[in-house]
């Protein structure tokens, strides 16, 4: 009896250990696979062009060199301009978008608003059926005549029904009694929204705000469709254009550095692509540890029906 129990304990121990090893190994490998492409871009950007042309890209830098970064910053104005465009769009879009979504979600969460189901359906239906790309394209470029206008980058992302639903389910979590009490005290709806509701849904504001901000930061699609002038490119589309037309970019850079004898041919190509990608990616990778927590909240809440 005793020995039986003993062997049982060992058996249980060994399967726990096996699972532990598998878990640590599996998560470690997946995490590494997620990280490696980032490392390779950074390594590529710090390698010498000659080494890359000879050996190809690797996980660690080859013949450490700052050549690519020096080339990128030969003409820093263009990158700074793209950065500015993206930062401004992100800030304006996030602030206005949050305001719009919060205000709408607040009304749709009020149980004493008799038409809230009809309006909810009005918004929700747009996620089920859409006119598609062509009518939207015609709307932006012809009806509203926003081609090459910053509004064509701002407007398409400013309101989203998914964010509205996340916001609504947060606000529904506020006890009705709080709002009732404020109403009895004679607070108008705007006052209740800004003084009572907003301070209570700070986590939701952070979550939805970050979703909106990320959408603006990573947007290249609207720029590709609607923006023609290079000086209006946001960051991601700037990167897309430069990487895919790297020769044109090199020409531009060598012209910018007219005083130097460097011709376009002598500038690096492959490492330049990598350095440019690092310059564009940097801030988001540095900011994401702070943002991750709120995204996790948002995903879990978003799954709960609004």
């Amino acid at each position: 009896m005793k020995s039986d129990k003993h062997s049982n304990k060992i058996k249980r121990g060994s399967d726990v250990i096996a699972l532990n090893i598998i878990s640590y190994a599996f998560c470690g490998i997946v995490a590494l696979v997620c990280l490696v492409p980032f490392v390779m871009i950074v390594s590529g950007s710090f390698s010498s062009e000659k080494a890359i042309l000879q050996n190809g890209f690797s996980i660690l830098p080859q013949q450490f060199s700052l050549e690519a970064y020096k080339t990128v910053f030969k003409d820093p104005i263009v990158i700074l301009r793209a950065y500015c465009t993206t930062i401004c769009l992100t800030i304006v879009g996030t602030v206005v978008g949050l305001l719009l979504q919060t205000m709408t979600a607040y009304v749709l969460s009020r149980k004493d608003f008799g038409w809230r189901n009809a309006f909810s359906l009005f918004f929700y239906f747009t996620t089920l059926f859409s006119g598609g790309l062509v009518p939207y394209f015609i709307l932006i470029t012809q009806t509203l005549n926003l081609r090459d206008n910053y509004l064509a980058l701002l407007l398409p992302l400013i309101f989203s029904v998914y964010n509205l639903l996340i916001m609504k389910s947060y606000i529904m979590g506020i006890p009705d009694s709080l709002i009732e009490a404020a109403k009895i005290d004679g607070g108008g709806e705007f006052l209740i929204l800004f003084k009572i509701v907003l301070p209570l849904i700070k986590p939701a504001l952070a979550t939805v705000g970050l979703f909106i901000a990320l959408a603006y930061w990573n947007d290249w699609y609207n720029a590709m469709l609607y923006i023609k002038s290079e000086e209006k490119y946001p960051l991601q589309y700037f990167l897309y254009q430069r990487v895919n037309n790297i020769e044109a970019y090199k020409k531009l850079l060598s012209n910018a550095a007219a005083s130097s004898v460097a011709s376009a041919v002598s500038l690096p190509t492959q490492t330049l692509k990598m350095a440019l990608t690092v310059v564009v990616t940097g801030p988001i990778v540095l900011a994401y540890p702070l943002a991750q927590k709120y995204f996790v909240q948002g995903i879990t809440i978003g799954a709960v029906k609004g």
Binding site: V16, G28, V30, G131, P135, F159, W220, Y221
Partner: protein
Amino acid sequence: MKENGFRGFFKKLYKYRVFLLMLAPAVIYTLIFSYYPMTGIVTAFKKYNYAGGIWGSPWNGLENFKFFFKSGQAALVIRNTVLYNLLFIAVNTVTQIAVAVFLTELSNKYYRKITQSLMFLPYFISWVIVGVMAFNIFSSDYGFINRIITYFGGEKISFYTTPQVWPLILLFFSVWKGIGYGSVMYLAALMGIDTSIYDSAKIDGANVFQRIFYVTIPMIMPTTIILLLLAVGGIFKGNFDMFYNLVGNNGLLYNYTDVIDTLTFRALISSNNFGMSAAIGLFQSVLCFITVLIVNKLVGMYDKDYTLF
């Protein structure tokens, strides 16, 4: 109290005036950016020209649709879209559940936090950057994979001219980008499992693997089924960002990589064929709408709480 008819309507209009004022911006936005374009689907039945616009161009009957289906492109892009989505849904679900299960088994808090954060990293970057990464890894001349192949004395593979390998490459990046984000839902479901069930499984003599397969997995089945159904609802939607940034305008690969969304885009931007592009878009919208209705019905049969409407 209850009043009907016009009088009641105007009374309510007055009563709700502040609410309506607050809703107005979003309602106007949605009317302009979502409902007005729905009227633009008539473009699908027109021979579109710039001068005439949506309403002034001559009618074209079903010619745009006929062209789409007769050219053979329809069958190809629909097949590709559905097969890719099935592949992505299947593999993503399995890997995300695996990650969630193994992450919860990690006893070291820091190891768990760090690995989870690293898995979340790809979610935050744009597909443009993923496109550069794909080039970094798969480029024929300088790619990392070819570097390894040649190191071991093999022949370089020209990935960007070999369509057959693209389902795997696209699958890799789909899993890579979604794993951290996607596993969060399953993690939440795992946290919700009552630990006393584990204890009783232990007493019944189940080893940890049996516990995972006979307790954990069945317990997160409801979440899994709901997420699966929701994913199936988008089965006719191709991830344009992904396909365009990884494949781009590389016509050599289209047989294996062209999806409905990339074809719609090319018909509009490259060929300026508004009519056909709108026809494909309408066809897709209708398919998506029907799928969502069916899926919603199925979700409702499974668990009423999770139906969308």
